[in-house]
């Protein structure tokens, strides 16, 4: 097994100790930072997403894999910067105002990173103004919003309205969460709906990265 394959496997196994060691080993051996990212870390995360989608992995495995990937990515960041490698796109993500649930949001953030996005996590209980503020302060390609409660879903609509009114061009907006539906996404004017974390990230990729 090549070192890149070992890195991918370490991510799949959620091994946050071995992953950075293998990344270091690959860099010392002269492998480019971009290859370590694309063919090692992200490849492993893509496989994790597949296993999650097919019911082989559960939420804990995905988040532990993300921890492993993060441990590797942290080591890789200065090398990527030095080589001029930039993320393919930027996504911001948050659970809407009034809602403190973060598991789904964290999963989507993880999957977005695995799909090549730089992800800015705004956390939970995010007001519409915050989504707008961040979009105005830097280039954002995707805004991802999550709500677990039927009672907090209407805050998505307010956030979408505010983004469309105040941010031009408006980034691609995707929504998700247990009670959210395609019908609801259409009704509030979102560009897409992810029925789970993996499809949400794939959708974002197809709407933004694959269109380039």
């Amino acid at each position: 097994m090549s070192v890149l394959e070992q890195i991918a496997q370490a991510v799949i196994d959620g091994d946050e100790v071995s992953t950075p060691k293998l990344v270091e080993q690959a860099l010392v051996a002269g492998t480019s930072a971009k290859a370590v990212l694309q063919d090692g870390l992200l490849k492993g995360m893509t496989e994790v997403g597949r296993r999650f989608r097919e019911g082989e992995y559960f939420v804990p495995e995905v988040l532990i894999a993300a921890e492993a990937m993060k441990a590797g990515t942290n080591l890789l960041k200065p090398h990527l910067a030095k080589a001029g490698v930039k993320p393919e796109a930027t996504a911001i993500i948050g659970t809407v105002r009034g809602d403190l649930h973060d598991i789904g949001k964290n999963l989507v953030a993880t999957m977005l990173e695995g799909a090549g996005f730089e992800v800015i996590d705004l956390g939970v209980d995010v007001p519409p103004e915050k989504f707008v503020e961040v979009c105005l302060s830097r280039k954002v390609d995707v805004v991802a919003m999550s709500a677990l409660l039927t009672t907090t879903m209407p805050m998505m609509e307010q956030s979408v309205k505010k983004l469309k009114a105040e941010v031009q061009p408006t980034p691609t907006i995707i929504v998700g969460g247990a009670p959210v539906t395609q019908e609801y996404a259409d009704k509030i004017g979102a560009n897409g709906y992810g029925r789970d974390a993996a499809t949400g990230a794939e959708l974002a990729k197809s709407l933004v990265i694959n269109k380039r």
Binding site: G14, Y57, F58, E61, L63, I103, T150, T151, A178, T181
Partner: protein, 353 residues
């Protein structure tokens, strides 16, 4: 009421939602009522009357015990919702909390107790209390619960892993606060306690680790619930156990060992299959997808009616005691209240030959 009364309710074909939130949000000042025990009691009683049930199930407010605990630790009110412990603060936290418990008053818990007193004193309904379960309180208290719980599943001990120490310490603290809340509600007259443990699910506990031999359910769920169960048994108070999270059969079997009078599960479960996992003296409750009732596309009225017929028919075929109801508390959604209410009425009234 005792276990045989609950079995009798099931045998009589009781249907009921957990519906206090719906009634509450038909009032002009729901937030004020949440802090006014007498009026809250009237809402709980009105919900039971509307849905023709003798069980007075209160609001499913799973934020009360966290708020009460953090108040005891002098965390400012506006920081309670987002406050998380990143590391174990030290064992003296037990003494600090114990010293505050006898006199501490959380306004919403006091209102819940007053509502129970109202139901017990002014109606013929069965007064029921409500608490969050220890694991579900834990995941609200710590910053990164899933990683920490995964470390437990990897067999790490508290001595070698700070996250595991945090989990074990906070679970103990959570259990003590929940027992404190339970005592108050029993003292107010609760004859059953509705224990909500949605975190005891595959979102937090890995079925792969469990299948691999990790004793997650015993170590993180059952050990603490048995203490609650013992206290309820001593007080002759019944247990209603609720978990609307995603589950595997191992979870359902584990919950049943706590001997609840009612086991309430989410809509991801096929109750007619779970009937084989649960003893015959435990009533299964649920589990229509009420979280989607707001959407006419995902969950049109005709589907609610069809699911009602299917669920009742299949449960009859199992012969297992069953009460038809909601998968969780039915929340009123701004702009969709009437749609939701209509679907609740539908499952209450649809005829099943």
């Amino acid at each position: 009421m005792n276990r045989s009364d609950y079995l009798e309710l099931a045998a009589r074909g009781l249907r009921m939602p957990v519906g206090a939130h719906l009634v509450l949000h038909e009032q002009p000042d729901p937030e004020a009522i949440e802090r006014d025990g007498r009026r809250l009691g009237e809402v709980v009683a009105a919900a039971a009357e509307r849905y023709r049930t003798p069980l007075a199930v209160p609001l499913m407010d799973l934020t009360i015990e966290k708020a009460a605990l953090l108040e005891m630790l002098d965390v400012p009110d506006d920081a309670v919702a987002t406050h998380h412990f990143a590391t174990w603060p030290g064992d003296d936290i037990f003494e600090r909390v114990a010293a505050r418990m006898p006199t501490h008053r959380n306004v919403r818990l006091e209102a819940t107790c007053e509502a129970i007193r109202y139901v017990a004193g002014h109606t013929a309904l069965e007064p029921i209390g409500m608490v969050i379960g220890p694991l579900s309180l834990l995941v609200k208290l710590i910053a990164d619960p899933i990683t920490a719980l995964f470390m437990v599943g990897r067999g790490r001990s508290a001595a070698e892993s700070p996250p595991v120490r945090l989990v074990e310490g906070m679970l103990e603290l959570a259990t003590r606060v929940i027992l404190w809340s339970v005592e108050k509600q029993i003292a107010a007259g609760a004859r059953a306690i509705f224990v909500c443990e949605p975190a005891a699910s595959t979102a937090y506990l890995s079925p792969r680790q469990i299948a691999g031999g990790a004793d997650l359910l015993e170590r993180l769920v059952l050990a603490y619930h048995r203490r609650l169960r013992a206290r309820l048994r001593d007080a002759h108070v019944e247990l209603v156990f609720h978990c609307c999270g995603e589950l595997t059969p191992e979870f359902v079997r584990a919950f049943a060992t706590l001997e609840p009078v009612i086991l309430s599960l989410g809509s991801s479960r096929k109750l007619w299959e779970d009937a084989a996992l649960v003893p015959r003296d435990v009533v299964l409750y649920g589990n229509l997808p009420t979280k989607n009732f707001y959407s006419d596309e995902v969950c049109p009225l005709a589907v609610v009616e069809a699911q009602t017929r299917e669920l009742i028919t299949r449960m009859r075929a199992t012969g297992h005691p069953f009460i038809l109801g909601s998968e969780c508390d039915v929340l009123s959604v701004s702009g969709s209240h009437e749609i939701i209410r209509r679907k609740v009425e539908a499952f209450m009234n649809v005829r099943v030959p």
